[in-house]
Symmetry: C2
Subunit: 347 residues, 2 copies
């Protein structure tokens, strides 16, 4: 029997609040019967939704909270007024070791600020990151940072590599995940100094628990060239959003193209099994969930605007992370390797 | 009658040299009969190709050059040994006012270094940029910088906005192009200081020959939210490559999906007119060509690996730029507005 895994849910979060969160939890529970939930939010609103899902209700308990962090709250405001909110309490439940993971669809900035304050960064980690799952031609890879911070120095980039590799080990069950450093392709300006320095360090440090493959360019992410793509948060966030936008754009082209003539409409109808598979492959809800890495606990951020299916993906991700002892392994990796990387430049 | 427009071609450039360059020129000439070409390269190799296209031969003259810049040459090497090469001489032809535009499929770093040395940056411009055409749902937009430099300060970003707007005016015939500043969506860290400062300047400076729309995120580029997207070169290059990779990835999904069952294969065959339209929309050769902006002359960089159709797109772009008096207008814009932007911060 699998030991139960407890997820703390910010039930008030996202554009749709409890209706999406609770429905999402019930979908995820049907996939992972070992799940248990602690639901933080307005008791009345949450229990009204929970009544619709009796199987979920049996594996859940509601903790009433009074306040909700607005989707447009400034992180500083959220910190000042956050205590007692559904977001705050769901993170605190991880800190109290009552839950393995917290999942929220709330404001990213507020969620990261609170997570840092409550869970604290791991020793040696200056900057927690947001790691995204990115669909590739044959499977998935991990891209980090996709927007926790802007800019990163060489040491931080090297730590991103360690964190991403630990996550890949946990999720993909690969002992030495391949890692690439995202860079530009123009010879003259191959990366700024930090990217070049991180490259040298990752290449030279022996015994790292990863297989460093050097620089990669943006078009190689989706080809699945490596398991882990390391990039500072500004370019990483722009890359992620640009890929989402491009997928939407091509979906639109395709729809227009298939409605163009009588022949293409009939053809598209015949090929609907193929299109269903394509839609599935391109469905952004399948890989919903940014993982906060580098904290003493796991927090998953779901897209605010997603539906129940998307929110269920974020919970699934949290469940898999909880199964793996990621934090302990990552702490051990950082302990062993953080100081070995870039020793030559140590002050 | 349209006045002839002369394009200097680096006929030895790209992965395939004269065979692609000359064939590409003949395609472009059939679309724009006012074109004339000066072909720089090995006389024997170039004339052997030119013999295949009699109409092109009538509008072309060959200038023999001895050396070729290798695709993997370091920019510094290329500068030292570049004089007399097909790349150097095609740029110099623009400097001598013998050609309106130079087009090369050679090494980007070398081409930019030589272009800077020979044509010189325009007054007030610290950093020339590479501007890319980006297909959107309904048409195209301009994204700059896509990789001439890494990083950009607020003043440089503001200049990118002026340069991009001038190019949009020339290509899209819009008097006040809309401009957006690419940024990340996380409240807490909305851009680094330079991006925020450029935003304030562009918002506050009155009378700019553009319609500044504020921050945009990566997913809005392909939606065509603005005519011009401003971003520093590292994130811009990664965004461009990532979009290309995503398009390729989805093309692959689509192909797999359509070959999955007998029904989908028949459907795809019936819908082939629609797929042809889709392929056309997604064809990277349609928008091949990075424009070097901010120099006293126009240089277009074609993808090195493209075929004749792709190279023709780069020439077409050069032709359109030559038609418009872009450089003069841009010089006037910079003269008027460069110093008005960010006056508050002037030393």
């Amino acid at each position: 029997m699998i030991a139960p895994r407890t997820i703390a849910l910010d039930a008030m979060s996202g554009d749709h609040g409890p209706s999406v969160v609770i429905h999402g939890a019930s979908i995820s529970l049907s996939r992972h019967p070992a799940l248990e939930f602690i639901l933080f939010g307005n008791e009345q609103a949450v229990s009204a939704e929970l009544d619709k899902f009796p199987a979920l209700a049996k594996r859940s308990r509601i903790v009433h909270t009074e306040t909700v962090i607005a989707m447009d709250a400034k992180p500083s405001q959220a910190l000042r007024r956050g205590k007692g909110s559904s977001m705050w309490e769901s993170i605190a439940e991880v800190k109290r070791d009552e839950a393995h993971v917290a999942v929220s669809a709330g404001n990213t900035g507020a969620l990261m600020a609170m997570s840092k304050l409550i869970l604290r960064p791991m020793a040696a980690i200056e900057r927690p990151v947001i790691a995204a799952l990115w669909p590739t031609i044959n499977s998935e890879c991990i891209v980090l940072d996709v927007g926790a911070n802007i800019g990163a120095n060489a040491r931080q980039l090297a730590d991103f590599a360690l964190m991403g590799a630990a996550m890949a080990r946990a999720l993909f069950h690969i002992e030495n995940p391949t890692v690439g450093l995202l860079n530009v392709g123009v010879e003259e300006i191959k990366g700024n100094e930090d990217v070049r320095q991180a490259h040298v360090w990752l290449k030279q440090t022996t015994g790292l628990p990863l297989d460093y493959r050097g620089f990669i360019e943006g078009d190689q992410i989706g080809q699945g060239s490596v398991d882990v793509v390391v990039v500072e948060g500004f370019a990483g966030n722009i890359a992620l959003k640009t890929a989402e936008g491009t997928a939407k754009q091509i979906g639109r082209y395709l729809k227009d193209a298939m409605q163009r003539t009588w022949f293409s409409r009939v053809g598209a109808a015949l090929a609907r099994g193929g299109f269903r598979m394509l839609r599935y492959k391109m469905d952004p809800r399948r890989v919903n969930g940014g993982t906060f890495l580098g904290l003493n606990g796991i927090v998953i951020k779901s897209h605010g605007g997603t539906d129940a299916l998307g929110f269920a993906s974020a919970i699934d991700l949290g469940y898999e992370m909880a199964q793996t002892g990621l934090i302990e392994r990552l702490a051990a990796d950082l302990d062993t390797f953080h100081h070995r990387i870039g020793q030559d430049a140590a002050e």
